[in-house]
């Protein structure tokens, strides 16, 4: 990846001293890291390493015990999660978060509604004014390969397709930074291929920070990897560097990495 700027100006997101204590347990412990613009940054680590907690701290779904978060040069540590989302830093969830009783199209439309239509307190208008958003929703569904099921109830989709729908819904907000929490978990091989391609395409104009367990995907997809273990950073670098790091091999992989290739 490009390492043209070293002055920090091309970092989208920076966390400094990020710490979260749950009843005496330091789930995230003094984590510093930065996400460079237009890269795919992976956050990996064994179960319980604090990856998802980290995500929730960065998007303010949890309040950090200490530390600061800077997004696009602005301190966002004290902002509400909804405000952070509106600034273009949008997260997905580990457990698939679709609106089950709505149609696939309506799921995406609900996100478009917020971005295009505004806060939508207009309870006196007909919902018909939202139908204009459906062309764009269709286009997004086409991008993730869901156009042919757009009228299905979201709850009826197979798991992997729900994840794809989530990505489409997230993209509808036109975010600058996507935080994807295990976007490939539970997907079949075909879906993994398609979604990997999608993430790659998305990252050409945006920045992606993701938690992922599938190491072969991490290897091919990510420009930068941060390894967390027990809430602290164990190693950082590209896949080649990280996978050779003896501390990582011991703590996370437990055996030589090439077993996983």
């Amino acid at each position: 990846m490009t390492s043209r700027h070293e002055n920090g100006a091309d970092y989208v997101l920076t966390a400094k001293g990020l710490t979260k204590v749950f009843g005496g347990i330091r789930a995230v412990d003094n984590v510093d890291f930065s996400v460079r613009r237009h890269t795919i940054h992976a956050l990996i680590g064994p179960n319980g390493a604090g990856k998802t907690t980290c995500f929730s701290l960065l998007t303010k779904f949890l309040t950090p015990t200490s530390g600061t978060i800077t997004y696009e040069g602005q301190d966002v540590t004290d902002l509400s999660p909804a405000t952070i989302a509106r600034k273009g830093m949008v997260r997905s969830f580990q457990i698939s978060a679709v609106f089950g009783s709505m149609s696939v199209l309506e799921n995406v439309r609900l996100a478009l509604q917020r971005r295009v239509h505004g806060p939508s307190f207009d309870f006196w208008r007909s919902v018909k004014c939202l139908h204009a958003l459906e062309d764009e929703a269709m286009a997004l569904l086409q991008e993730v390969g869901l156009a042919n099921v757009m009228h299905a109830r979201a709850a009826d989709l197979p798991y992997g397709r729900k994840r794809a729908l989530e990505i489409a819904t997230t993209l509808a907000l036109d975010p600058q930074l996507l935080l994807l929490d295990e976007p490939l978990a539970g997907m079949g091989q075909e879906d993994i291929g398609r979604t990997t391609e999608l993430i790659k395409r998305v990252a050409q104009t945006r920045t992606v920070l993701m938690v992922e367990h599938n190491l072969s995907v991490v290897a091919t997809l990510s420009d930068q990897i941060t390894v967390l273990a027990q809430g602290a950073i164990l190693a950082e670098g590209d896949y080649a560097a990280v996978s050779q790091n003896p501390a990582v091999v011991e703590a996370y992989i437990g055996e030589p990495h090439d077993t996983y290739d």
Partner: protein, 329 residues
């Protein structure tokens, strides 16, 4: 609202817009049916009884907006219903206001109460939210019990209806019925519009997955508060109208059992269904009226109906009906 996209899946596109039209057609039919019933009802039934039913139906719809569509279980809606009844009574009796102003004033009072209670309660969830709303409603009850303005144990009696716009004398129940019918129809149309508005879409999203809505940038608390205020205002419309129907605003209207009754109506009719609360209100009001001779047995029968309802058909009467007809009602 037709789409001009390269029709990759033209049949499904048609299917959807067709489905929307089908549902909309059903709703128009139900609206027409309700309007027809409201028009002919006083020919067969005692107008005051029908008016009582219409007021409670409106109250239940207001409540359903919060519980069924906003996912907020309030156990203090009697405060808005009864508070509005007192407000209307005071405006009509002491200030001599015409009904349109007296009821309008009541709606305003209920909305302001809703804004204050809602602002303080909305931060809590589930049972805590229910308990806080109950606590506020009890405060209103004890205020009504002791304040000289509300007439204490006697309530406000002989509230005059005055004349509509200072022109139409409403003292006859047959004449006043049409005003109540108009308020009711306007009320259900309003609820229908709220549910089928961009705001209503956001509410559905919050009900389904609040966390995801936050991550999409929606400020969930504000939508809940607005829902609370709308629901309180509509409850006020129902309560204010009721005070003029019976010429009476009393402690019954602000008592916690009133809050319980509206939960009962909504659940029997169908939680989260648009027309369900109307049916639920009909069942409860009819039971109270026709079984009145049985005295306190009515409460036991009500309780049993409620238990059967929760055990056998959780979606409520209209919910089950909608399932059979494969539509949304």
């Amino acid at each position: 609202m037709s789409h001009h996209i390269e029709p990759t899946t033209p049949t499904q596109l048609q299917g959807k817009t067709g489905g929307r039209r089908r549902t909309a057609r059903h709703h128009m039919f139900v609206f027409a049916l309700i309007a027809a019933l409201v028009v002919i009802a006083p020919q067969f039934l005692y107008p005051v009884f029908v008016m009582k039913f219409l007021c409670f139906a409106l109250f239940a719809m207001a409540f359903n907006l919060m519980l069924g569509f906003g996912g907020l279980l309030s156990f203090g809606h009697a405060a808005f219903f009864g508070g509005a009844a007192y407000a209307t009574g005071h405006a009509a009796k002491v200030w001599g206001w015409p009904p349109e102003l007296a009821i309008g004033f009541a709606v305003l009072v209920a909305a302001v109460m809703g804004a204050v209670f809602g602002f303080l309660a909305i931060k809590s969830r589930g049972i805590y939210f229910a308990m806080i709303t109950l606590a506020f409603a009890q405060m209103v009850y004890f205020y009504a019990l002791q304040s000289p303005i509300t007439g204490g144990e006697d309530g406000l009696q002989s509230i005059p209806r005055n004349s509509l716009f200072g022109l139409v004398d409403l003292s006859s129940d047959r004449v006043f019925y049409w005003l109540v019918a108009a308020i009711f129809m306007a009320g259900i149309f309003f609820v229908y519009r709220v549910i089928h508005s961009p705001f209503g879409e956001v509410l559905k999203g919050i009900r389904e997955n609040e966390q995801r809505m936050i991550s999409l940038g929606y400020q969930v608390q504000r939508y809940k508060l607005v829902t609370f205020i709308i629901s309180a205002a509509l409850s006020g419309l129902a309560g204010g109208t009721k005070a003029l129907v019976f010429h009476l605003a009393s402690l019954v209207d602000v008592h916690w059992t009133m809050s319980g009754e509206v939960v009962l109506m909504t659940l029997i009719g169908g939680l989260g269904s648009i027309f369900g609360p109307i049916v639920g209100a009909g069942v409860v009001v009819a039971m109270q009226n026709y079984l009145a001779d049985l005295g306190s047995l009515v409460l036991i029968i009500q309780g049993m109906v409620f238990i059967v309802c929760v055990l056998v058909f959780r979606e409520g009467i209209v919910g089950v009906l909608a399932k059979w007809l494969k539509t949304r009602l």
